[in-house]
Each structure stands twice: as C-alpha cells, then as structure tokens.
Amino acid sequence: METISQVNRRQFLQFTGLVSGGIMLGASLNVSGQANKLIDVPPGTPSEALAFNLFVQISPDGQVYIVVHRSEMGQGIRTGLPQVVADELEADWQRITVVQGLANNKYGSQNTDGSNSIRDFYSKMREMGAAARAMLVQAAANQWQVPVQECFANQHKIIHKPTGKNLGFGDVAVAAALLPVPKLAELTLKSSDDFKYIGKPVPVVDLQNFVTGDTEFGIDVDLPGMVYASIQRCPVVGGHLKTLDSKATKAVKGVLAVLTIEPTPLPAAFNALPGVAVIADNTWAANQGREKLKLEWDAGANGTHDSDEYMETLKKSLQSDGRVVRSKGDVDRAFDAHTHHVSAQYTVPYLAHAPMEPTIATAVVNEQGIEIWTCTQNPQATRDAVAAKLEVAPEKIVVHVTLLGGAFGRKSKPDYAVEAALLSKQLGGKPVKVTWTREDDIQFDFYHAISAQQYKAALNENGKVIALEGRTAFPSISSNWSLDANFASDGEVSLGFVDMPFELDNLRLQTHRADTHIRIGWMRSVSNIQHGFAINSFVGELAQAAGRDSREMLLELLGSERMIDLSQSGVKKYGNYGEPIEKHPLDISRFRAAVVAVTDSAGWGSKTTADEGWGLAVHRSFVSYVAIATRVKVSKGKVEVKEVHCVADCGLVVNPDRVEAQMEGAVIFGLSIALMGEIKVKNGAVVNSNFHDYPVLRINQTPAITVTLLQGSEIPGGVGEPGVPPVAASVTNAIVAAGGPRIRDLPISGHLLV
C-alpha cells in the first residue's frame, strides 16, 4: 500500500539540512504512525517501514525546493528527478531550488548504481508533484470559495477558469500545507501530451557553476581547523604492516602526525585497508611526507597473485566441470550430429574505474557523533560502514553528499570514508580530509573482474547455428563478503550471460570456478562488459565461419519477435535488474529494432576502402537495449576508430539531451576498455599507477559519435550503463572487417597500436 504524507519542518531539516518555511510533502512506500506527522497510515503498516523517497517544499515566496536523494556523478540526476516533480507540480522551472538529501533510510535506497534512479523513482516523483499540485489547487479553490473543478494549476499559478483570476503558488502555500494529503487513488496525473519538462532537454541545474568552477566536490570540502591526510596502504589485500620508520617523514615541513590504520580481517567488505597515514597542514606536505616513509609489509597469502598466470588458471577452469545455469535441448547430440564447429575463448583483464575525481572524504568524529562530507554514490552504506567500524549508532552519523567527480561504481564502496573517520577519531575529533592520489585510486580500487569465456557452436550446411554452448569464469563481487564465493553469483550471471537472447533449440550456459585475490567491484555495466564482448564477438566469428553478413547472422540468431521466458530453459534465478519480468520482459522486437536502426544509421553494407570495416554488436542491460555499429581503419599495425553509431532504446526518456550525453560517454568509456584498459597484478600488488600506464581515451582518439534514441516502452529503463557492453565487440568485429586480426583478448593495445 503506497501513501503520500506530509513531513514536518524539523524532519525536513533533518533529512536535508535546509532551513525554510512552507509546506512539505513526502512520498512514501510505507508509512509509520509517528505522531508528529500528518500521515495517511494504512492499518498494519510496520512502524519501522517509513520510507520517504522524495520531498517537495514550497515557501511563501513561491520558491519550490525539490530534494534529490540520489548522488550526482555526471548522469544529470539532480536535474532529471526534479524535472519529473516540477512537471506534475506545474512549477516554473526558474523557481526551483534543488536540495541534496542526507543519508536517511526514509528515502528508500539512495545507492546510486544499477542505472535505476529514474527507473525506480519516476512514478513516485510524478505522484509527489501531482499531490502537491492538488493541494495547491484545493487551497486556491477554498480561498475563492469556488468548486475545485473550476481551478487548475499552470506554471506556478492556480487559475480560476471561469473568471481567469489567479493566485501564485506562494500565495496559497501555507493554506495548502494545512489540507489533508490526497490519497494516491485520487490523484490525477498529467497526460503525457501536456508534459512541459519530461522528455525535454532541460539544461542541468549545476551548469553555470560547472563552467565557472563554483562547485563543491568531495575534494573541495573545507572545514575550520581541517588537516589533510595521505595514506600509504598495504599493496596486497590481506597483508599487514611489518615495520614503520617515519623519522624522515616527521621532518617534512607541514607534517603534523603519522598514524596507522590497523588491518581488518578478510573478507574485504568496505573496510579501510591497513595503512600508514601522514597528517599535514596541506595536501602536498602530506604527500611529501608519505614519500619519505620507510615501510615493510607482510604480503600474506595473496602475495603470489599474478594476473597473467591467473588468466591461464581461468582458461583452465573453463575446461573443468562447470555449473549449468541454463540448458535447452540436447547440445551434446547436436554437436555430434553437426560437425561444422566454431569455438573461441575471450578474455577481459582487470579494469580500474579511474573517475576524474579520486575517492575523497572528510570526517569529524567527536562525542556528539560523526559528520562526514564525501563524494559517495551510497550515503547509507557510508553511514553504516562508519557506524560498524567506529561502533557508533547510525542515527548519530550525518553523511553529506557532495557532487561526485565521476564514480562509475567506485564511489559506492565507502572504504575511504571509514579511513577519514578512523583518523579524525585518532586526532581527537579534528576534521580530517583524506585525499586519494591517482596512484592510490589505480592501486587500491575494487577492480572490474578479470574474466575468461568460451563459446562453441555447431552450424549446419546452410551456415545456421544449431547448437551453442557458453562458459564464463570470473571472480565474484560476493567475495567481498564471503571468502568462499568462488563462482559468479546468480546476480552476476544475470548480467548479459544467462539472458543471452538467441533463438536456439540446443543451448547450454555454464559458470566455472574462479577464486579471488584482490578486491572486486561493480564497474559501469559490471559483468555485462565481458558478456557483451564475448557473445557479440562470437556472432562475428560465426558469420565469418559461415561466410555470411554479420548483420544477417545476428538477426537470424535473435530470431522471431517474442518475449523470452528464461524459466523454460531451466534458469532458476534471473535478476532482471530488480524489475518484474512482466513489466520489463526480454523483448526480442526491441533487440531487432535497435539492430535495424543502427545499421540504417551507419549505412551498413555501403562500400568502404580495403583497410576499413564495420563491426556490429547489440546488448540488453539494465532493461535497456543498445546496438552499436563502429567503423575502423587498420593500417600499418594501427587501428583508428573513425565513427560510432549508437542506437539506444531506454524506454521513456526524461531528458533526451542527458541520455544522449550518457550514450556518448558510455561509448567513450567502452572504447577505453576495448582499446587500452588493463590492470596488471604482480606479487599480489597492482603494477599500474597513473594515466601513463593506465591510459583512458583522449579527445584525439575519439571518433565521431552519432546517438539515436528509440522508445520501445512507456516505462523508463536504465541509461548510465547500457551503452558500455556492446562497444568492445563492435570494435573487434570491425577490425576483422577491415582486414585486421580477430582480437579475443582485450585490450586491443596488446595486439595493435591504438
């Protein structure tokens, strides 16, 4: 049962830190009967289930405050969510102030990952806006003593239709606040024809601040008396400090103290890594002092981990017994009956997120409680990790979310905030800012998993695929919480592997063992990266083996326009990105439409020069469908990506300009992975250190990018991540078409100049 409720002023302050008067509304999933709220409480609602998702406040001067409870990291959510509320509210966009929410369970999940901010909160926010509008209209009708049906809201005003007289939102805000909150069932939502902001390219609210440098990121937090920390961490996960000599460090001007962070037993979770922190009166002095530390580490059991050797271990694992996660028909018999076989192995190395702003947190820890300012995707997990480590009740911890200078999944793990809190505590409550260097960022990440995959198919005499077997092996993110997680989880298998869309009578998919030796984390589209690369590469190989056009092969494999029911082929747990399958089915017509649109956009089949070629890939992730066609040139052992066409069907789109920007960014992120992304580990420690040896795409390597949006559904799908998975295979397929080699092991820079 869903309700909408009012919150009082004190609570609003508590959630946002904002001071203002007027009405406040909160949409809630489940509401408890706290006495100080005007709440429509359904009987039997558990008291702890109060979960506010969003707040609107209107002050008597007419200013509308909209709380965004999700983190802004470049996806435009501080604009997208308010666009939806403001549209239903009939507010004037110029009179909106966006307020960042604090960590609070009452919002529901604030974990800004999984491309779900709009997916999960679109309807909620429409209801929020509509409820506030209804109350404002009612208040105006009461004041005029006219039937409410004669009144409507339009651009920050309530208008009386018969007479044309009007009142501003601010004029009726206080009276509206006293009215009962409408029930959900009584709300009238706007017709999509009347949308003023939803579906429009509204510029982001922080734009002016971005271009004048007037913003607050995690690195910009500044508190009176604040000191700066730089931490040398143990290079191997599970290791610890043996000896410490800080004499030279303490002689550095500006260095105030040298502190240690003790190890926490594995699994790694979001714990702070063991390390030695240099505290100074500026960042540079802290870094200088740190360079002079003389440290010896005991590497522990992971000290022998070597990423090259481990890749061989993974490939071997693919030949051992696996766990079947999807099966249909009789694959073995089909392989016996059809002797034209194609098989290939694909690998993707460890990858680092490398957001432009490294992980940074500032903390104050004293008897009153703990206050943290940080660039986090997950303020609630930040609060909980700090609460657990410092043994402080979560209610005594305030987490302020700054802007995030990129995140891509890294900033949903709050180990850096735990560090800041531990150091502030050791310094007796002094504010401490922990700034990770780029070297720290590259060497102490939660890495995208190294992976190996194998596909094998049997073709008939017409070049049609009769049977397919797929295998995957990679260390699981679950290993952060469970030391014996040595197979991919159901959740990870759901990311573009088990939901492989091809129409085949004989199919078997299995996962294989993979142990974990470094911290593994989710990175922009997660396991879809390797799964999208392998399956789309294999389609290219099948087309080549059969002497067929790869577009034709891809469309044939996708097969008839249908909804796939994975339970028919023995899939027990399919995550579907947290969405009910009825609401977001695996819809082959949307795959096909994306492929057709992208090949139309690219002029598929048109002639290229002999050293150029096109590659194609399509992938569904986060319930959106993205197809990519890429043209490359290969000459003198060098590949140049010339042109990328991206067609994205993310369902209903709130801000098309930001969705296009996300797709442009995802293509570029995907090109970094395909062309040059590789983290190497030797003796348990990451070898790379900065952008010279962990390069990411630069402007001079960036192709022309054309984005086209399709709308295959009235419901929003994910936007931030789905553009990434099809990129790599579109490039490697194009390289073959351009007369280059088939590259099965990423990155491409291991085989060709980029």
């Binding site: 271009v211 440098g213 990121f217 690195i219 500044d222 700066y228 702003e357 990129g406 700034t435 995802a666």
Partner: protein, 153 residues
C-alpha cells in the same frame, strides 16, 4: 613570503617555493576551481594560465609563478561570460563537471593564440585534458561555437 598575481590580485603567502601551484591555490588560498586529477601533468584537471599560456599547475612549482600573471577558472571572466564558457553552456558540455575547469582553461588558451583552430588544432590542444565522462564530442563542438562567439564580439 612569496607574492603571486592571481586573477589580477596580489596574494602573499608563506609556502615552500617547491609546492605545486595547484595545492597553494586549493589548500592555502582556497581557490578550488582548479582540480586535482593525477599530480603528474597527465590529465589537465589542474590547468590554469601563466601569462596566458595553459600550464598544469600540479607540476609547476610556486617559484615559477613569481612575477607572472596567473589566471584560474575563477578569474577567466567575472560572470561566466567568456566565449568558451558561453559555448559550454550552449552545448551542455559538462557531465560530472570535474574536468571542466581544466578543459575550459585549455580551450580559452587555445583560442587566445589561435582564433580559428582546425579540427586537428583542437584535438592537439585538448589532448592533455582527460574527461573520463567522455564529453569530448561536445568539447569539440563547443570550441567551434566559441570561435563564432569570439568573432561576433
């Protein structure tokens, strides 16, 4: 005591002359528009102007700035009206925004000495500025737009 001319104002500060300008700006003078991204001159997030030239402030010591004019994003224009800033607004360039002050400082330095840059000129001048969010296509188009705005002024 060192004396620095930053955005037309003289600042005196007591700091190690070896300290990179970036950290003096950020931690001492509290001018935080210039960002840290790598500390090694590899990413351009810290780009400022020294006598009109784009430099990486993370690898340029304070000693190199004495007697010179420094301009940071805060001083590029009083109100965000520099043609590059205007073009950035029109083309909705930023995503997370973190690299953008560096991008804008590099682009404005480019336009100051090359009023009509070619596509290659743009790529060459901007190749030192990483944008992990991938705003490069819009940076290219916004620089072309900035050229038009600059010409019209």
């Amino acid at each position: 005591m060192m004396k620095l001319n930053i955005n037309g104002e003289i600042h005196s500060l007591d700091a190690d002359p070896e300290m990179p300008i970036l950290w003096a700006l950020r931690d001492i003078l509290k001018l935080k528009g210039s960002k840290f991204g790598c500390g090694k001159g590899l990413c351009g997030a810290c780009t400022i102007h020294l006598n009109g030239q784009a430099i990486r402030s993370c690898v340029t010591p304070l000693a190199a700035a004495e007697g010179s004019e420094l301009t940071t994003i805060e001083g590029l224009s009083a109100d965000g009206s520099h043609p590059v800033q205007q073009a950035w607004l029109e083309h909705n360039v930023p995503q997370c925004g973190y690299c953008q002050s560096g991008q804008i400082m590099s682009a404005s330095a480019l336009l100051a000495y090359n009023a009509a840059p070619s596509d290659t000129d743009i790529d060459t001048a901007m190749a030192g500025n990483i944008c992990r969010c991938g705003t490069y296509p819009r940076i290219r188009s916004a620089i072309k737009r900035a050229v038009e705005i600059q010409e019209a002024k």
